[in-house]
Amino acid sequence: MKRIVGIFLAVLLIGGVAAAVVAGRESQVSDTATKTVRGVIGSEKAEFFADPDVVKALDEHGFSVKTETSGSWAMEELTLDGTDFAFPSSTAPADELADKYQVPGTPPRPFYSPLVVVAHRSAAEVLARNGLAALDGESRGTLRMGPYLEAARKERTWQQLKGASAHAELTGTVFIASTDPMTSNSGALYLAAASYVDNGGKVVSDKAAVARTAPLLKQLTVVQGAQQTSSDAPFRDFISGVGNPLVLVYESQVASVLLQKQEVGDLVVLYPDTTVISDHTLVPLTDNGRELGALLTTDTRLRELAVRHGFRPQGAAAEFTTATAPYQAFLNQRLTGVRQAPVPTTEWLHAMAQRARS
């Protein structure tokens, strides 16, 4: 399938844009010429926008969308001249951008996805055996944040966990690999979830709470060493059989692979019992960007395609559960037993990330 994407893009680039315009007219959904809309997006949405069916569906509405990826928190630093929209992976950086570019109104949130941890089965079983996780079958489970964070605080190593010695790769400090919280959304949201638990189930909203949670957040971060800047890279490393045994990703990344009927091997999806939901929020910078945002939210076909890429469309839960019904062994469709932690405001999230990385 990806090969087709490549070919399709190539055709577009070599000058097939004209053909696309014609195709758009023939479909008679739109009688305006194709508008090229440029956007900067979180890496986890790159495959959605590159999907030929998405390209076609957008084209039928007269849009040709060109994207490039960036860490959600790094978008603020980009020069967005000539860009029609920014599409970070949560509301906090979106609010920042909306503020910076004085975007009126509430930016649309076409779809969302909870943060999950992927593990190889060996690691998941060891965590379960030691009370850090609970498994519902072979490929799905819950990460118990309380015990996990306690283990992290004590710098527990895999060697100290029962059952780890049978697996060569399970040595060293137990940690979840996340992205750089200074630039990337999933890394920042990880700190949001952990700080919420560490702060006694209250969202961090003042200096005292930042100070109180800082030692644990720093502990979760420094053991990782260098962190990647987007959630795609650690997930690819994981799929490639290298990298850390526990990786923080968006549920959409896993669901997308499953929905494409790709082999996932011994992957286990652990839903943290306290997690954060990533609200993919489109910040329109031009009228075209605004129209695109509305379209992604309301168009049934585009919502269906978003589901194909693993996203949960806002206000249409059934569309996701129906499509992922065959993959319940991996996916907790109704997020049973998963508490959603609120996300601190940008100010506090930044402060927490800074302390964690220092």
Binding site: M1, K2, R3, I4, V5, G6, I7, L9, A10, L13, I14, S43, A46, A50, K66, E68, T69, S70, A74, E77, L78, G82, H120, S122, E155, T157, A168, E169, L170, T171, G172, T173, F175, D180, T183, T221, V222, V223, Q224, G225, A226, Q228, T229, S230, D232, A233, R236, D237, I239, S240, G241, V242, G243, P245, V257, Q260, Q262, E263, V264, G265
Partner: protein, 544 residues
């Protein structure tokens, strides 16, 4: 912060490396129809559909996949080969902006640690992965009684200490595979349970120093390391990417057992990364290219052709790639730990160097050429304040051997860590005092250099090398054939000293290529611009 921002010196270094690599490719592949740029160091403006990519040199083996990508996407990759650390400096300094559209290194970990890089790169897309592994001769594995999938870094260390294992490894200051190996072995020997800290590094120093006594080959690039390993024949093992080791086995029947140490590896994940300064069209081309490379067709081709591991679940790794998992050792999270480790390697842990510079100061060097040589030597020498890799190393014995009709002087200094500034000043003063006169006795002078290294110097256990810089042909003294005979009669351990000739001025490429080939060295081209001589000297440091 130890490393300086990239200067012009570094820039030209990259250009020279490109020339050398392209020349090497031409020799080894016998003209595979690859397009070669006559002046690859030059700036070229962006052309639609052609990405100017700063890339790790081992990616040369991706040509087949990239050619196919070009057919499928219309996007062409014009690669300029570079080392990871040089690339990091170039990008951080902003000097890559406008010259390159993308960067494709074995890893972005070091790059990201450099301040000022974050906002200059975007769209990091891992394409494939390969861990740094140890390739060991089968008979050595048998002799050591190793179970390949059970070997740990500690066992490797013990084998070295027992005198039962020698190996080749690239220079960590210039090459990512060497740097990754250094991190792996430092993690393994310090017992670090998480990302390395300064305390871990200092705790492991004793063992690391022992470990590096086994390093018998060093190199600025992994390609030359493989060649030197095959040529030397007496080294037991090679530290390199799993992909490189398996390719050697396939292409040259090297028969290496590939060991991924059980206590952990550092893996390269080759993120194709756009520069934010790239034009819009280039960024779109980059997206099209990465979409293709992440597709099943390209993933299948790359794992089968290059033995790297695919990053999509639908494509299985090529036959020969072991599927049991390894712990991934974290890359240091701060620049100070990374640079501290490099500095320790360079100045304390590795075997010291004994380096002889055979320098043509014949009459024809008078004027601009001689002043370029002096500048280049001054830059190479560095000062007490220089960053890691940008001065002569602690414990290094440096000998300047200026020659005309004969060797004029033998000027030796050892860079003692306690008298570092004085030693570097003395070398710089010697370089400044060089004067031009006489004919050009290349071969007689080379023979003297070998004899000099044969007399026991400050350290018998050192990496020895000879750099030959000449601006003309041999006009007096021993002839090429005489030198061949002299070299053939040297005892084997002295024959292992390579000569790195530098093509400069009116020197004779064939003559110098012959010397490089005979001695197992490598030719460097400094016939380019004003800065190319500095660049050549600088590049050679990785081989010393």
């Amino acid at each position: 912060m130890r490393r300086k921002p990239a200067g012009v010196r570094r820039l030209s270094g990259i250009g020279v490396l490109v020339a050398a690599l392209l020349a090497a490719t031409a020799c080894t592949s016998g003209g595979d129809g690859a397009t070669r740029d006559p002046d690859p160091g030059a700036d070229i403006p962006y052309r639609e559909g052609t990405l100017r990519v700063l890339a790790s040199s081992e990616l040369a083996d991706m040509r087949g996949v990239l050619d196919q990508a070009e057919r499928k996407t219309g996007v062409k990759v014009r690669a300029t080969w570079t080392g990871t650390l040089d690339a990091a400096e170039l990008i951080a300094s902003g000097k890559a902006d406008g010259k390159y559209d993308a960067v494709w290194l074995s890893s972005n970990d070091y790059l990201r640690l450099s301040p000022g890089v974050g906002e200059r790169i975007t769209n990091e897309t891992p394409i494939m992965s390969s861990p740094v592994a140890l390739g060991v001769r089968t008979e050595t594995v048998r002799r050591l009684g190793w179970q390949p999938d059970e070997v740990t870094w500690s066992q490797v260390h013990q084998a070295v200490v027992a005198g039962k294992l020698t190996y080749g490894m690239t220079d960590p200051v210039r090459s990512n595979s060497g740097f990754s190996a250094l991190i792996s072995v430092a993690s393994g020997l310090s017992g670090a349970q998480a990302a390395l800290t300064d305390a871990d590094v200092s705790r492991a120093k004793g063992k690391l120093k022992e470990f590096f006594t086994g390093q018998k080959l060093t190199s600025g690039s992994s390609g030359w390391l493989a060649t030197a390993y095959t040529r030397r024949g007496s080294v037991d093992a090679l530290v390199n990417y799993e992909s490189v080791l398996l390719s050697m086995n396939r292409d040259s029947g090297t028969g290496l057992t590939v060991i991924r140490p059980k206590d952990g590896v550092v893996t390269a994940d080759y993120p194709f990364t756009l520069l934010t300064s790239a034009p819009q069209d280039a960024r779109e081309s980059g997206q099209a290219l990465t979409s293709y490379l992440r597709g099943a067709e390209a993933q299948k081709a790359l794992t089968e052709q290059t033995f790297r591991r695919p990053v999509v679940p639908s494509v299985p790794p090529a036959a020969g790639l072991a599927t049991d998992k390894r712990r991934e050792l974290p890359f240091p999270g701060s620049r100070s730990v990374a640079d501290g480790l490099l500095d320790a390697y360079e100045n304390q842990l590795r075997r010291p160097s004994r380096t002889v510079y055979v320098l043509d100061t014949s009459g024809s060097m008078e004027g601009e050429r001689l002043s370029r040589l002096k500048d280049a030597l001054a830059g190479l020498t560095g000062t007490d304040e220089s960053a890691t890799g940008e001065r002569f190393r602690d414990r290094e014995e440096v000998t300047l051997m200026p020659f005309g009709s004969e060797v004029k002087k033998v000027l030796s200094h050892t860079v003692d860590p306690d008298g570092r500034a004085a030693a570097l000043d003395a070398i710089r003063a010697d370089a400044r005092a060089l004067s031009a006169s006489g004919d050009t006795a290349i071969f007689s002078s080379l023979q003297e250099a070998y004899s000099h290294l044969g007399r026991s110097g400050s350290g018998a256990d050192a990496f020895t090398s000879i750099v030959l810089m000449t601006d003309g042909e041999n006009t007096t003294g021993a002839k090429a054939a005489d030198f061949d005979g002299f070299y053939a009669k040297l005892p084997p351990d002295r024959r292992s000293t390579p000569v790195f000739p530098i093509l400069f001025g009116d020197s004779d490429r064939a003559e110098l290529e012959h010397i490089a080939e005979l001695t197992g060295g490598r030719l460097f081209d400094a016939t380019g611009g004003q800065e190319s001589l500095d660049g050549a000297f600088e590049e050679i440091r990785g081989y010393q």
